[in-house]
């Protein structure tokens, strides 16, 4: 039976947003594993994980579409709907960039030079950090929208700050790595290959930051 009061309450799209963010965390774990396998030259296993990430990405895409398609006009949310859609877009792009990076690596199996390996691992670790904060960020936001307490809002703000700081650090390392690529590699193809790779990895953190900026805008008062 439908009751007027119950039909007033619409299933919060934030729950699905949480599912989407959880999928991303799953992917970052695999991403790290794939990079390691690639560096060890285990390309076959690398390809398997890449396919697995692609599968997860399409699942996350379905969640994203589900959120967008089931949010009709006439739903009143505690946040601006436009900002909310922007947030999902950015969160989804994080996943796209992870996938793109793995695809880039799989287009042509080029082993990373010994002198750059550590830097690449460091960069990957750094970009994963802000991304892994996204599920927590969404969860904190859900709690805040449920209670509207100042404290809960401050937690969201502080996570946004953390994400921003990790991104800045990743940016710095990305620039250093590019410099090193230009200084150590002479072959034009390899320069293009590794510069592009560095940019792909770096953009993962960029989109995580964009997402957190959107979240910050959503909780603005």
């Amino acid at each position: 039976m439908r009751w007027l009061l119950t039909s007033l309450f619409f299933k919060s799209p934030f729950e699905n947003l949480q599912r989407h963010a959880d999928k991303i965390k799953e992917c970052t774990h695999m991403f790290k594993k794939a990079i390691n396998l690639h560096m060890q030259g285990k390309y076959e296993e690398f390809e398997n994980i890449k396919d697995e990430v692609a599968r997860l990405e399409s699942e996350a895409d379905a969640i994203k579409r589900n959120i967008r398609n089931h949010l009709p006009r006439g739903i009143l949310m505690p946040v601006d709907k436009f900002q909310f859609f922007q947030y999902i877009r950015e969160q989804d792009k994080v996943l796209d960039e992870i996938e793109e990076t793995l695809f880039w690596l799989s287009f042509k199996h080029v082993s990373i030079p010994e002198g750059l390996k550590d830097e690449f691992v460091h960069l990957v670790d750094l970009v994963i950090k802000p991304v892994n904060l996204l599920p927590e960020l969404v969860n904190q936001a859900i709690v805040y929208f449920r209670t509207n307490y100042k404290d809960h809002r401050n937690r969201v703000k502080s996570t946004c700050r953390d994400i921003r700081q990790w991104e800045r650090e990743a940016d710095f390392v990305e620039r250093e790595l590019k410099l090193k690529i230009f200084n150590t590699i002479k072959d034009a193809f390899l320069i293009f290959y590794f510069i592009r790779l560095t940019e792909y990895i770096g953009s993962i953190a960029d989109h995580a930051e964009n997402a957190s900026d959107m979240m910050r805008a959503m909780i603005a008062r």
Partner: protein
């Protein structure tokens, strides 16, 4: 058994039938926000609403009811034919009761108030003709259907914004809630006492003016406000042991205590406003049978309001538990702070509109209040398409009960006369 007794028994049966339906449909919604926020259990909700609803009916209900729904038609036109009047009232009650029962069964969001208004208009049209209907009186009624949810939304939304700024965003939210609570309790009691003085004490013909009424209401409410604060602080300390987020669970339980008060307030307001929907026509039949004339206004006997109030509670107990459960499970977005605001805004609007003599729907006002909190960014996702449902329910309820009342009237006239 004489014919008169038979009529009275039938009228009582139909009146109670309508009252029970009102309980099952309307009162369950009235308690929804309390159950949804887990401030009270379903059992408590049933108990509170039975008692407070009966009290509301007796203490603040319409003791003097305009026999034909706020003067939409002039019953004097039927003064020579009390039989027709009795049959019309009977048909109207039955039509409204059937419609509310059907709607409850189908899960349609309808207003019990609008059902009876529609039925009475139908009876008016068929008995004395459409040209005698005072259509001018219909306009403020229709306007009140729009204004009352809006008023609920504005009061609740403002209160929520105020609470968010002063309490939820305070350095020490619990201290802030203690500080402001006497004010909220004060407001609840001022409105309760005023509605009691202006409506409940009318029979005593005290005729207090606003100033005298306020000079009684304000000091009493101040005392209740201060005492209530300390009582609740004591209750909260008793119920809360230790918890990780002590600061916030304290506020939650504090507002849950406040919501116990506003739940009673809502049930009281419902009793004052909606019991009359069943009892008004019922009392009109009694008066017409006994005096063999049609009065412009009839006195609703005390016992009738009491029985009506209890019947509404009984209807809730019999059929409403499931509704309350469904509502409670579906509106988890409501926490005690929001529930408190929604109930305060709704009950205040209902009592004020009831005082102004406007027939409004309790459910619609509560929906309006929750939407108001949503606009103050104080709720999860709200489906505003429900407003369309409300409009549909207006468009369906009125014609349905109108024609059903006309139909039943014709049948009864055909069978009896």
């Amino acid at each position: 058994m004489t014919v008169e007794t038979l009529i009275l028994v039938c009228a009582s049966f139909v009146g109670l039938y309508m009252a029970a339906n009102i309980g099952a449909n309307d009162l369950a919604n009235a308690m929804g926000t309390s159950v949804g926020s887990k401030a009270i259990t379903i059992r408590q909700a049933v108990l509170i609403s039975m008692i407070a609803n009966a009290l509301g009916a007796v203490l603040a209900g319409s003791h003097v009811t305009n026999t034909i729904s706020k003067g939409i038609i002039n019953p004097q036109l039927l003064s020579s034919q009390p039989d027709k009047f009795i049959i019309g009232m009977f048909a109207s009650l039955l039509a409204a009761g059937i419609w509310v029962n059907l709607a409850t069964y189908l899960g349609l969001p309808v207003s019990t108030t609008h059902s009876i208004v529609g039925a009475l208009i139908g009876f008016g049209i068929i008995s004395i003709g459409a040209s005698y209907i005072n259509w001018g009186k219909v306009i403020p009624i229709v306007l009140s259907w729009i204004i009352s949810p809006l008023a609920g939304a504005i009061i609740s939304g403002t209160l929520y914004t105020l609470l968010e700024r002063k309490v939820l965003f305070a350095e020490d939210p619990y201290k802030a809630s203690l500080k402001y609570s006497p004010f909220f309790i004060f407001l609840v009691f001022v409105i309760l006492i005023l509605s009691f003085i202006f409506k409940g004490l009318k029979n005593l013909h005290l005729n207090l003016n606003l100033f005298t009424a306020l000079s009684i209401a304000i000091p009493v409410s101040v005392i209740f406000g201060i005492a209530g604060r300390y009582y609740m602080e004591w209750r909260v300390k008793k119920t809360i042991s230790s918890s990780e987020e002590k600061g916030y669970s304290l506020i939650e339980s504090f507002f849950a205590q406040l919501q116990l008060l506003t739940a009673c307030y809502v049930a009281f307001a419902h009793g004052a406003n909606d019991v009359a929907n069943a009892v008004g026509p019922w009392a009109a039949i009694f008066s017409a049978v006994k005096t063999r004339s049609v009065a412009l206004k009839v006195q609703v006997p005390f016992w009738m309001l009491l029985i009506g109030g209890i019947a509404v509670g009984g209807g809730l107990m019999a059929f409403g538990s499931n509704v309350i459960k469904t509502i409670g499970e579906n509106i988890t977005d409501i926490n005690p702070v929001r529930g408190f605001c929604a109930e305060f805004g709704a009950a205040t609007t209902i009592l004020v509109c009831s005082r102004l003599g406007l027939p409004i729907s309790t459910t619609h006002v509560i929906v309006g209040s929750v939407i108001g909190i949503g606009f103050a960014r104080g709720a999860g996702a709200l489906d505003l398409r429900v407003i369309k449902n409300i409009c549909i329910s207006w468009l369906v309820t009125l014609p349905f009960t109108l024609f059903l009342a006309m139909f039943l009237y014709k049948i009864i006239i055909y069978l009896i006369l």
